[in-house]
């Protein structure tokens, strides 16, 4: 793509470019720039409530020695590494299946799988808490299917609590990602698939060689969004496990929330932890962009 354009065309591009982008940019500048600089400035301060004083890099030093922070960091990265790939794969498979015109009851399935996104946080966290108790439905069902011999202590065991959270997130957000893929798949011309089928390419082949490449921009989008979402994980952990047991499901966002609202409010330190998230996400997002980079002509 030619970035080096002759003068008048470049001006034309520039004027139009800024016009289209302008309104959004103005709003973002208005409502995000000040808060971002404020929180950046705050991260160099520390103190109780309104009694803040400048500490330079003191907050970063505190971070290094903060065992709870390290645990929150580890948990967050663990969730990211395990949950995001599973969810994206699941959503892709589902979207691909539901995109086929031959499937009976497509509308029903599609609605069903999207429902979790629409279910309110209270309802589904109450439900998950209720279903995954020691004597709850899940344990009973697993027992009946002879998969386990003694009930799994979902909420009391650090490992299983993490599994519970991963199940909850995947359940909630797979449909969301599926919608994005479905929309993008609609934009793929059917005739390409027809031609491939006539050429004798199998369903898997069509999936891997046509669908996925054409969906690459959207897959990248959902992957980055899911990265951001999982690294900022908050809703599920505060409602289902409250960060427990013994901080096994404490995430960075939850820690920030506690630092801001539950513990003695230290807004400066909380801001510092926020920027750890930003750096982490930026790093991972950049990696993903790089991996999917387009080769411009």
């Amino acid at each position: 793509m030619a970035l080096a354009r002759p003068g008048s065309i470049r001006r034309y591009y520039d004027i139009n470019g800024w016009l289209f982008v302008g309104p959004a940019l103005a709003l973002i500048c208005l409502f995000l720039v000040y808060p971002i600089f404020w929180s950046l400035w705050m991260s160099f301060h520390s103190g109780r409530g309104a009694l803040v004083k400048f500490v330079g890099f003191g907050n970063i030093q505190r971070l290094m020695g903060d065992a709870v922070f390290i645990q929150a960091l580890t948990n967050t990265i663990t969730f990211f590494v395990v949950q995001v790939p599973i969810m994206i794969l699941l959503a892709l498979m589902l979207a691909s299946i539901l995109n086929s015109p031959k499937l009976v009851g497509r509308d029903l399935f599609r609605t069903a799988i999207f429902l979790p996104c629409v279910t309110s946080l209270i309802a589904y966290s109450a439900l998950f808490k209720g279903m995954f108790t020691d004597d709850g439905i899940i344990n009973s069902a697993l027992h009946a299917l002879h998969i386990i011999s003694s009930p799994i202590p979902w909420r009391a065991d650090p490992f299983w609590a993490k599994v519970l959270i991963i199940i909850a997130i995947t359940w909630r957000w797979t449909g969301y990602n599926m919608i994005f893929y479905l929309a993008a798949m609609q934009n793929i011309d059917r005739s390409i698939y027809e031609a491939a089928r006539i050429d004798g390419i199998s369903a898997w082949g069509r999936f891997f060689h046509i669908t996925i490449p054409m969906l690459k921009p959207v897959i990248l989008f959902t992957s980055v969004i899911s990265t951001i979402g999982t690294l900022q994980l908050f809703d599920e952990v505060i409602n289902i496990t409250e960060g427990g047991p013994s901080n096994a499901t404490l995430t960075l966002s939850l820690y920030i929330y506690y630092l801001t609202f539950k513990f003695m409010p230290n807004l400066g330190y909380a801001a510092t932890v926020s920027y750890v998230i930003v750096i982490l996400v930026a790093l991972l997002a950049f990696l993903q962009f790089y991996a999917a980079r387009e080769r411009d002509q």
Binding site: G49, L51, A156, P158, P245, S246, N247, Y258, T260, M264
Partner: protein
Amino acid sequence: MDNFLRAQLPRVAALAMAGVSLFAVSAAQAKQLTVWCWDPNFNVAIMKEAGARYTKTHPDTTFNIVDFAKADVEQKLQTGLSAGGTGLPDIVLIEDYGAQKYLQSFPGAFAEMSGKVDYSGFAPYKVNLMTVDGKVYGMPFDSGVTGMYYRKDYLEAAGFKPADMQNITWDRFIEIGKAVEAKTGKKMMGLDLNDAGIVRIMMQSAGGWYFDKDGNPSITDNPALKASLETLGKIISNNVYKPAAGWANWVGTFTSGDVAAVTTGVWITGTVKAQADQSGKWGVAPIPSLDVEGAGHASNLGGSSWYVLANSQGKDEAIDFLNEIYAKDIDFYQKILVDRGAVGSLLAARTGIAYAESDPFFGGEKVWQNFADWLAKVPPVNYGIFTNEADAAVIAQIPAIAKGGSVDDALKAIEAQVKAQAQ
């Protein structure tokens, strides 16, 4: 506009002006006080009652009571305070454990009331927690004085009479629990392993807290805390509890009759009594005591107080209102006791009729009298400003204790975490 109307215009205008000025005059005197609190059936309803009483004698003052979830009130309050005091109400409800935190980290944000309210009439431990540098900042509201509510029918089935439940120790409680489970299959209590409430009750009953009188962490050298954690360990290892996954679940353990007892603050009374079919089956006894020096049978869990924001427009009216109703209106306290099960902190209110009543739900016991007596015996402690951090540290160690780990190790870990967090 036709001529007739045009002629009328000056008259209409004059009337309008008069109306406006009349409105302006009364508007200058009329005040609407905004109050933030949680729980529609308890705090909100009580505040509405208080407001109605005040408006009767002061028709210019009306009330706008906005209810949010408890965590949300704290979030909004803290956001507003951190933003320099914008967007805040006139009166706000703050849970007692957090009072010092707000008072100390946002100095000047709350209105001082020491000169205007007679605090000698309130339970000392309530006044203590809202005092900074000798100045008192809030209006004590409901007390979380604790009691042990127990199912007389389950205990009888296991061979225990009400007399057997009076002034027992926790070790005895656990013994009784095992017997009850053996005979009736019911666990003795519901327990949420993600909540340190029971630890706090036990600790305060022996006059201890996470922090000493000066607010310094007192963890490893704290016999009350150690005894509390040991007792918690015994409750878990003897399996006399039903696990609860969160608040609502915990409430469900006793409302559905799954457990034989619940030890918590008096504000649970309304919830207990809401099960009409359980009337006559419940009794109330003093909470069990720890096995340490200075241990008693009185403690507190929760409880909150009203605070006035210093830069509120209706500050004076708010203080006057709180003073008139919450500090003086004894009849008000009778009403909220009967209607909502709210035990106020005004000591004089205990002489009112309602407090002497026997309650048919509890088999004719004079439960309120008991609570009123215990209220005066609650050991005053300094909640300090880092209670939530200490709570979190304790909760983080509960799984280890539940697995039978050493309490001393747990205490060391708690101390390390508290020292790291408490900055």
